[in-house]
């Protein structure tokens, strides 16, 4: 590590669970953040500050004024700009040592497997159950670890999938809710600070996975209700043996064939 890196990352290196070797792992890690909104913005800020070597940002949306109440990496100077481009400029300003790769496209059943193949860890920061299940299934099929999170109103949940180390999202949800996304942030609202909490949980999980520190949210779910501070971690001792994607006899083996579930008409 260079002298300026030792100075920049001194508080990471001071963590016994990380140390210099943990920082070296971070500096050579490749992390993909899918969705550069509220969860993604918080994750990206802390991952780039922590010194993740390569950060991929995937999003197809442009920055709107109504995003800025919670999507803190974007600003009024980038209204109408692609979120990926805005995210990259935020990251470069915070930490020019990070190599940023932007993927300004919609994540689909066709492109997700080659996309995630280039990364060590994936963060699902998307805002639709359909895409969340697509990311889950792709990561299970590719054997790729990822962090799931969702947020709405004053609360949300987060869990981490690592192949062979616990349930996947489909074990728990079964599939994409039949009634679609139901209430979304547009109609039900979401507090930016709460989205930030969940996004930083995801960044924490990524750092822990990369460095091997601590115990991940594998086989358990963190649920946060910030309105009356009900915070709990629920153990999921074993995956669903009949899970359609990670079970013993999976029925979902082709993302393309299952596309209708991810993107219902």
């Amino acid at each position: 590590m260079r002298a300026d890196q030792i100075e920049r990352y001194a508080r990471n290196i001071a963590l016994a669970e990380l140390g210099e070797s943990g920082q070296e792992k971070l500096l050579s890690a490749r992390v993909l953040v899918i969705g550069a909104g509220a969860l993604g913005g918080a994750s990206l800020a802390y991952l780039s500050a922590a010194g993740a070597g390569v950060i991929g940002v995937a999003d197809f949306d442009k920055v709107e004024l109504s995003n800025l109440q919670r999507q803190i990496i974007h600003g009024v100077d980038v209204l109408g700009e692609y979120k990926t481009v805005s995210a990259a400029s935020f990251i470069r300003r915070l930490n020019p040592g990070v190599e940023v790769h932007i993927h300004t496209e919609k994540v689909t059943a066709d492109n997700i497997l080659p996309l995630i193949a280039d990364y060590d860890f994936v963060l699902d920061c998307t805002d639709r159950f359909g895409v969340k299940l697509l990311i889950n299934d792709a990561c299970v099929i590719a054997g790729k670890p990822f962090s799931h999170a969702g947020v709405l109103r004053f609360g949300g949940q987060a869990m981490t999938y690592v192949p062979g180390r616990g349930a996947c999202l489909r074990c728990l949800l079964g599939g994409v809710p039949a009634d679609g996304d139901g209430k979304t942030a547009v109609s039900a609202g979401v507090l930016g600070a709460v989205a930030g909490m969940l996004g930083t949980v995801q960044a924490t999980e990524a750092v822990k996975y990369i460095t091997g520190a601590g115990k991940l949210l594998t086989g358990r779910i963190l649920s946060i209700n910030a309105l009356d501070w009900k915070v709990c971690v629920t153990d999921i001792p074993s995956p669903d043996p009949d899970c359609a994607v990670c079970g013993a006899h999976p029925t979902i083996t082709s993302l393309k064939e299952n596309e209708g579930e991810y993107f219902p008409r």
Binding site: F129, G156, L172, P177, G182, I221, T234, P237, D242
Partner: protein, 64 residues
Amino acid sequence: MVKINGTEADVAGITVHDYLVSANYNLQRVAVEINGDIVPKSDYSARAFGDGDSVEIVGFVGGG
């Protein structure tokens, strides 16, 4: 008695489906675990809580 998310409830014999509806859960956005095993959605109507069961119910939201 059945322990649901750590609290004792007098719901033995009630199906997962009927309990979730009565407690205002959205059946599509929830995961239910009885004694450590995930209950598949297709079993919600048939599976009833047994006396002494330990149940965990986790809600999911999809925003980002």
